[in-house]
């Protein structure tokens, strides 16, 4: 396989990684906004995508090393980078399938460690740097962001449990601004990361080719990224963000705690502060870990009894597994790619088949912008909850229901025959219509008039009745008198 073809495949794979990075991390900026209704889901991802794109153009100071010192950079070849990208993409997709927010940077570092381990053994890994740049920050980030967010929420609520509607509206606006800033910073840092990977691969490829003439894509060491690298990396991350990553969005927005706009504001502000402080004060922290910790912190500050520790536990397990699992996939990919062109193609085929399989499995319990807020859980193989069932197939074996309940929407539930009780619709108390004041007055007047008319009619009827009775009495008396007179005449005769 020619060097050019390998470079082309690696660049495309890097852009695919950038895309998965976008949809994996879209939730960091927008999950709280979608959960609190600050932005409608589609609008949220559109704005985050635009901010990502702007961010990618704002900062093009790409890193001078891919690994940041965690492995010996002299051992990195285009094949190693390819294996690392494959490992990171597959881990990103797998965690997305389970709706688990995990760090994309940790995924690529893990896969890179695995690939270098296979190529050069333990000597190629700088374990102290792994501990100081990956393991410790993974422990510190959620704690720092959680404490900041906890305090921010306490200040926002001022010790109360709830805030007036108008206050929440103002916090919602502030939350929008802080979320957009998180999206912008994500574009500057992660867009730059992919640009760095592509640039270093192009430099390595140019050096491998040698010769006097530099190819159009070629790059000398120490130069900045090509314009098309900046553009393609920016577009890839923005498209990834726009595609949503709704499964992770559900876990972060609804899965850990139920949040309100002041909490969303506190969480995103804490996230923003941590991201900026970590990127400017020399201790890099993962955005995903920061925002997840901030959401937990805000949940603990307002409704500690409603925090879902089960989701937090699953998330922590995923964080712990990210490095070894990505290393395993990256190592395997590097080992197979080591067998030359055929090995390279086999790894590519595994990537395609793996990605398509994950996509097919995810479509069984599809999460989209339409149902992202319907539940707090992301199911993979189990049946979706009744609230997400939109179409039901009538069962011919179902016993006939009494006519009076046959039309009820729950009568068509697929769970009716399984013995499970379908979830009843929540009872919403009907509000009595209160007519406006003037109408009320009119009604009272009309009622009074009606009562007066009824009274008069009653009176009239009674009078008529009395008159009739009197007439009947007189008639009877007259008849009696006539009869008596007649009897007297007969007697006299």
């Amino acid at each position: 396989m020619s060097v050019e073809l390998i470079i082309l495949i690696v660049v495309i794979t890097a852009l695919i990684f950038d895309f998965t990075n976008g949809f994996h991390d879209a939730a960091n900026a927008m999950a709280t906004c979608v959960a609190t209704g600050a932005f409608k889901p589609k609008m949220a991802v559109l704005l985050a995508a635009i901010m990502n794109l702007i961010g990618a153009f704002l900062s093009t100071n790409v890193a001078k090393t891919i690994s940041g010192g965690i492995v010996d950079d002299q051992l990195i070849t285009p094949q190693t980078v390819f294996a690392a990208l494959v490992g990171a993409i597959l881990w990103n997709l797998l965690t997305w399938l389970f709706g688990l927010p995990s760090s994309s940077s940790h995924a690529i570092f893990g896969a890179l460690i695995g690939a270098v381990l296979v190529q050069a053994g333990l000597i190629g890994i700088h374990f102290s740097t792994v501990a100081s740049k990956i393991l410790l920050p993974a422990l510190v980030a959620p704690v720092v962001a959680g404490v900041a967010s906890y305090l921010g929420t306490k200040i926002a609520y001022k010790g109360k449990h709830n805030l007036p509607k108008e206050s929440k509206k103002r916090y919602r606006n502030a939350q929008r601004v802080s979320s957009l800033l998180v999206a912008l910073s994500h574009g500057t840092s992660d867009g730059q990361k992919t640009m760095g990977i592509i640039t270093l691969v192009l430099v390595a490829g140019t050096l491998q080719l040698g010769g006097d003439q530099m190819p159009w894509w070629g790059q000398a060491p120490g130069t900045g990224p090509h314009w098309w690298v900046i553009l393609s990396a920016g577009i890839a991350i923005a498209l990834g963000t726009y595609s949503g990553g709704w499964r992770i969005m559900r876990t972060m927005g609804k899965g850990m705690a139920e949040i309100e706009p002041p909490q969303g504001f506190a969480a995103e502000t804490a996230g923003m502060s941590c991201i900026l402080a970590s990127s400017h004060l020399g201790f890099g922290l993962s955005t995903t870990h920061i925002v997840s910790g901030a959401i937990m912190g805000t949940g603990l500050a307002r409704t500690p009894e409603e925090v879902r520790w089960n989701t937090a536990k699953r998330m922590l397990i995923a964080w712990g597994l990210t490095l070894p699992a990505a290393a395993l996939v990256g190592g395997l990919a590097a080992w197979v790619a080591h067998f030359g062109s055929w090995g390279f193609l086999v790894v590519l085929a595994v990537l395609v088949i793996g990605s398509v399989t994950i996509k097919i499995v995810s479509s069984k319990n599809h999460v989209s912008h339409e149902n992202v807020n319907d539940s707090h859980e992301v199911t993979v193989l189990a049946k979706a909850a009744i609230s997400s069932v939109t179409e039901t197939i009538p069962n011919p074996l179902a016993p006939a229901l009494p006519e009076e309940i046959a039309d009820h929407p729950l009568a068509a539930s697929p769970l009716r025959l399984t013995g499970l009780k379908p979830r009843p619709k929540p009872k919403v108390p009907k509000k009595k219509k209160t007519p406006p004041k003037s109408k009320k007055k009119k009604q009272r007047k009309a009622a009074q008039q009606k009562a007066a008319v009824a009274k008069a009619q009653e009176h009239e009827a009674a009078r008529e009745k009395a008159a009739k009775a009197k007439a009947a009495k007189e008639k009877a008396a007259a008849t009696r008198a006539a009869k008596a007179a007649k009897a007297k005449e007969v007697n006299d005769a």
């Binding site: 501990a131 916090y171 912008l184 504001f265 502000t269 900026l276 004060l281 020399g282 201790f283």
Partner: protein, 78 residues
């Protein structure tokens, strides 16, 4: 193990933690105070003019913090 302890920049870690928490507390406090001034006192329908002005001042201070965040984020400025 000792090399691992030396490899970690503890000072940077403490600084990042302190700055992150302090920045969040400051922004949340500014927002909370601004919100307090915009909110009408009990028995009144609308916040008075001086209260609203104070609310806007604190909102402006928060906008300054946001602008500083943008300044840090965009390498062109520094």
């Amino acid at each position: 193990m000792p090399s691992l302890i030396y490899a970690i920049d503890w000072m940077a870690l403490l600084l990042v933690a302190a700055v992150s928490i302090a920045a969040t507390v400051i922004i949340a406090a500014l927002m909370s105070v601004s919100n307090y001034f915009f909110h009408p006192p009990k028995g009144e329908e609308k916040a008075s003019q001086p209260r609203r002005i104070l609310g806007f001042i604190f909102l402006g201070l928060m906008a300054c913090v946001v602008a500083f965040g943008l300044y840090l984020m965009i390498p062109y400025f520094h």
